[in-house]
């Protein structure tokens, strides 16, 4: 056998990494070190788009002698305007991670046991394509599944296409819902949700929505929040954050209102009660779009009762409602990863109703429809709760179906209930369900039952022991892709991800892997393409944008009004007569964007007219109030009655409600693999490389706990030992634990560091959206005497 030195080193790198960190051999080219030491030190910059979270910030990478040494923000990218977050900064640590795998791995032992042998790409491809060919012939339709972490890039759409061309509708994207997504979906059938504009509000009310620490471009929202904070000193803008824990959004607000987890919808309707009583609502809107909302609120949401359910004093409810309704442009936001509870969908619907009452949908410039990308409506995966079937649908034609992403976490339950057929093969990419899902055991069992599980990953993660084959995947710095616009933002943009370096080791981009696999199975997703077909596919899609004539490559900031003026006069910022010019500009500038048709502006009176009003027709109707389909008798009752089952309270001096939270340093859980983020993770509590529990001083005093004491946290699912941080920023009823640590694999920096609070969660879900709840697990706390 003829093995080159490089291949040998790669193999060693791969096996060395798996030996548990004893080896210091990497899976990346060794020549680089020499170049860095003695190269001519030529500095170049390359533009690309960040892939650490779904926000799609523009980045520029500094290269010295073609080796990346630093990631900074792309100053003309409209989302981040030259800035990145700590996760974005740490991108190179992912690229150079010593535990990245360099070649395909086959599991040696039984499922669930680590232990790998390297195999060649040819062998791996043969195994997979044989299975795929069977699906292509239509032997077992639907027996192929694909679970993919949705990073909001073109690749998700492409992978969905791959699965459907192979005759299956079982494409399961995995992402957390966007801000307001659940509420609008329920209230108005609106998907994607409306975009909102924080800069125009004079009263911002966030129901658990932590824009500063969620992967929706925290950079964008930190920038906006900075501006709002500065503005409020002059204008008296109020920012109120309602949550059980004072997150960064609460720290940067003018007021933090403690609330019992899960009861936010009740508070919103309590405020609606006051607004209706005071008759300070938008009568025009309510008379046109309301049926029995008023009766329902009047009957069930008296502030005294709301106060009893939520723990918020009745006076505060009155004050908030009056401040909200008397503001000129009030904006209430709900949703996000952190607010997932058993009443999540109901809560978001209630908050959406509050916006409707205030009339902010019809004018004021607070809400607008997302600007579409001019290439036709993309297909997304949808899930029908009634038939429990998955299908592919155009994005804004979901109707009564919901985005499949909402139920991806519950796949094993759906399988156990016989709602999806037994899969013969499951592809997994860009997601680590065994780490992320609240029902870990169900996931393990389900994955162990599927005959062939193939994972595409940059390194062995917690899910890998349940995969039969792991294919080495490139990071976002080595591949082509397009980051798609975030619907929450009031403009449209496509960030161009282009390879900053050629793939290190034997890694390949997921797009290329899928294209090659498809071809071998007789399905060509991009006919006529060559060696890196996915890059050519990306280019072909950009041709559609070029042909549409809309938008422009990123350019130095000018105001939207100026741009609109230019457009009217038939000017544009850049000139690109041919596609090649357009493409060259895109690669140089880092992406394309379109501020959209500036909403109809009456330039004399400066009022902004929005079309969102007419699409909210069903928001305030009791008949439209979310009801459980599985609830049986309960669903017949008024909603707040069954709702209260989902609002839990601690039941003893040592009992707490476990509330995991995310931090900017590790929003997705992947950050634990990167040493910079491991350190940054503990920046605020000064506990580095660790997980901690936050407890209110009153409760800590009663349990005789001091800051730094060790506690044992016990739930029905497990036990974890954590140091306690006694801080006034959590409500007395909860024990708050950061999410992101406690991996069993995922590289040497993440393995066995800290604890994973998700493991401890009871497996409860919101019956309406099907999403797992993060806020309904009671735990007991014991002091550990050292």
């Amino acid at each position: 056998m003829n093995i080159s030195r490089r291949a040998f080193l790669q193999m060693l790198g791969a096996t060395g990494a798996l030996a548990g960190g004893a080896s210091r051999i990497w899976a990346i080219p060794d020549e680089w070190r020499e170049i860095l030491r003695s190269g001519p030190r030529l500095e170049t910059w390359k533009m690309s788009a960040c892939g650490q979270c779904p926000a799609g910030c523009g980045i520029r990478v500094r290269l010295v002698d073609d080796i990346p040494v630093r990631i900074l923000g792309n100053p003309i990218a409209p989302v981040n305007k030259g800035f990145v977050c700590p996760m974005g900064e740490a991108g190179l640590e992912l690229l150079y991670h010593p535990d990245r795998i360099g070649q395909p791995m086959r599991r040696k032992g039984k499922k669930g046991e680590p232990g790998w042998e390297p195999v060649s790409w040819d062998d791996a491809r043969k195994t997979i394509s044989q299975a795929l060919k069977g699906f292509k012939k239509g032997k077992q339709p639907g027996a192929l599944g694909f679970l993919m972490g949705d990073r909001n890039t073109l690749l998700t759409e492409f992978a969905g296409e791959f699965v459907s061309r192979l005759g299956s509708s079982h494409f399961f994207p995995w992402r957390s819902p966007r801000i307001n997504e659940l509420g609008f979906w329920q209230g108005a059938g609106e998907f994607p949700p409306f975009a909102f504009d924080l800069t125009r509000t004079d009263f911002l009310l966030t129901f658990g929505t932590n824009l500063l620490e969620e992967p929706l471009s925290p950079v964008y929202f930190n920038r906006i929040y900075g501006g709002l904070k500065e503005k409020r000193a002059r204008t008296g803008l109020k920012m109120v954050h309602v949550d059980a824990r004072m997150s960064q959004a609460g720290r940067n607000a003018t007021e933090w209102v403690q609330i019992r987890p899960g009861s936010m919808g009740v508070l919103a309707l309590g405020m609606a009660y006051v607004i209706l009583r005071d008759q300070t609502y938008d009568r025009n809107f309510v008379s046109r779009h309301t049926m029995d909302f008023r009766e329902m609120v009047d009957r069930d949401y008296h502030p005294d009762r709301v106060s009893e359910v939520t723990g918020v004093p009745a006076q505060t409810i009155l004050r908030l409602a009056r401040e909200f309704s008397s503001a000129k442009a009030p904006l209430a936001l709900s949703g996000g990863n952190l607010s997932s509870s058993e009443t999540e969908l109901f809560s978001q619907w209630a908050v959406a109703s509050l916006n409707a009452l205030s009339g902010s949908f019809s004018a004021k410039g607070l809400w607008r429809e997302p600007v579409p990308v001019p290439w036709g409506t993309p297909s997304v995966s949808a899930f029908s709760p009634r038939s429990a079937a998955f299908s592919r649908k155009p994005e804004n034609a979901l109707g009564s179906d919901m985005p499949a992403a909402w139920v991806a976490e519950r796949l094993p339950d759906l399988a156990a209930a016989g709602k999806i057929p037994d899969l013969e093969m499951l592809l997994i990419a860009q997601v680590d369900p065994v780490f992320l899902a609240a029902n870990q055991k169900a996931w393990r069992d389900w994955l162990a039952r599927i005959p062939l599980v193939v994972q595409c990953a940059t390194m062995i993660d917690d899910t890998s022991p349940y995969a039969d084959l792991v294919l080495p995947m490139t990071t976002y710095l080595e591949q082509w892709d397009l980051t798609l616009p975030t619907p929450d933002l009031p403009f449209s943009q496509l960030g161009l991800q282009q390879p900053v370096v050629s793939p290190v080791g034997g890694a390949r981009s997921l797009g290329d892997i899928l294209l090659h696999l498809g071809r071998e199975a007789g399905v060509d997703l991009h006919p006529g393409s060559g060696g890196t077909p996915y890059g050519e596919y990306v280019e072909a899609r950009m041709k559609q944008i070029f042909a549409s004539g809309k938008g422009t490559p990123f350019f130095e900031a000018v105001s939207l009004e100026f741009l609109e003026d230019l457009r009217r006069r038939g000017w544009q910022v850049y000139s690109y007569p041919a596609f090649q010019d357009f493409w060259r500009l895109l690669r140089e500038k880092g992406g394309w964007w379109d501020p959209g048709e500036y909403p109809a502006v009456d330039w004399n009176r400066r009022t902004f007219l929005f079309p969102t009003d007419s699409r909210m027709a069903s928001l305030l109707k009791e008949s439209m109030i979310p009801r459980s389909e599985e609830g049986g008798e309960k669903s017949a009752k008024t909603p707040n009655l069954w709702l209260e089952d989902g609002i839990r309270r601690p039941d003893g001096p040592d009992s707490f409600l476990l509330v995991p939270f995310t931090s900017l340093m590790n929003m997705t859980g992947d950050g634990a693999s990167l040493p910079l983020l491991q350190e940054m993770f503990g920046l605020y509590p000064r506990l580095y490389w660790n997980t901690w529990a936050e407890m209110n001083p009153q409760r800590a005093a009663r349990l005789q706990l001091k800051d730094g004491d060790l506690i044992r946290v016990i739930s029905g699912k497990g036990v974890m030992t954590l140091p306690v941080r006694v801080v006034p920023t959590v409500s007395p009823e909860i024990l708050s634990v950061p999410f992101g640590q406690g991996h069993t694999e995922s590289g040497r920096h993440a393995k066995t560091i800290g604890a994973n609070p998700i493991v401890m969660l009871d497996h409860r879900a919101d019956p309406l959206s099907g999403r797992n709840s993060w806020q309904s697990t009671l735990v007991r706390v014991e002091k550990i005497n050292r």
């Binding site: 990497w26 040494v69 640590e93 150079y96 010593p98 900075g226 004072m246 910079l676």
Partner: protein, 226 residues
Amino acid sequence: MKWGMVIDLQKCTGCGECAAACKLENNVAIVEPRESEMGRTMLWMDMLTIYEGEYPRLRVRQIPRPCMHCDHPPCTKVCPVRATYMNEEGIVAQIYPQCIGCRYCMAACPYTVKSFNWYKPSFPPGMDRATNPDVSVRPVGVVEKCTFCIHRLQMAKEQAKFEARDLREGDFQPACADSCPTGAIVFGDLENRDHQVNHLAHSPRAEKLLEDLGTEPKVIYLKEVD
């Protein structure tokens, strides 16, 4: 010329990006978990959290904390070997080869901005490739701290000299100021009336950390008004 920094806490959201950018820009070593437990984590730019009042009037202040580059630095006065000194442009600088690691300066600094290299700077495997080639890595046994990114000043000066002009405002920005998404950190010449920092430093909101110690910090905070 007197370099100084103004941090507007009314704009700062406490995102921590300055701290991350600083670590990468200056090749500050990542301290592994076991040493970290002994309090040896090195952050040139730290984040202080201060709780004020009680719920419902609770306010949490988050204050980014670089080296204050004091005009009367307590650290330079105790250094037996002049390894730390204030240069003519007001930057409190460190001469690493001269440092004997006595750590007197660490004890003297009221702001605890200095950190000691307890180990040979070993970056986690792979990380050494992600280091900034413009900044040298400090050896074991010396004290280090924020330098106001003095290497950037040198490069900016060279560029200005090459273009035969004076240094302009904005030519030289430390990594933290450069990376702050909200523009809360402003850097410049405190003695130059044309520089923004000069104006901001005279704002009625301006205050300095532990001002009564008489250290005359050149990092000035604009306090939050609400």
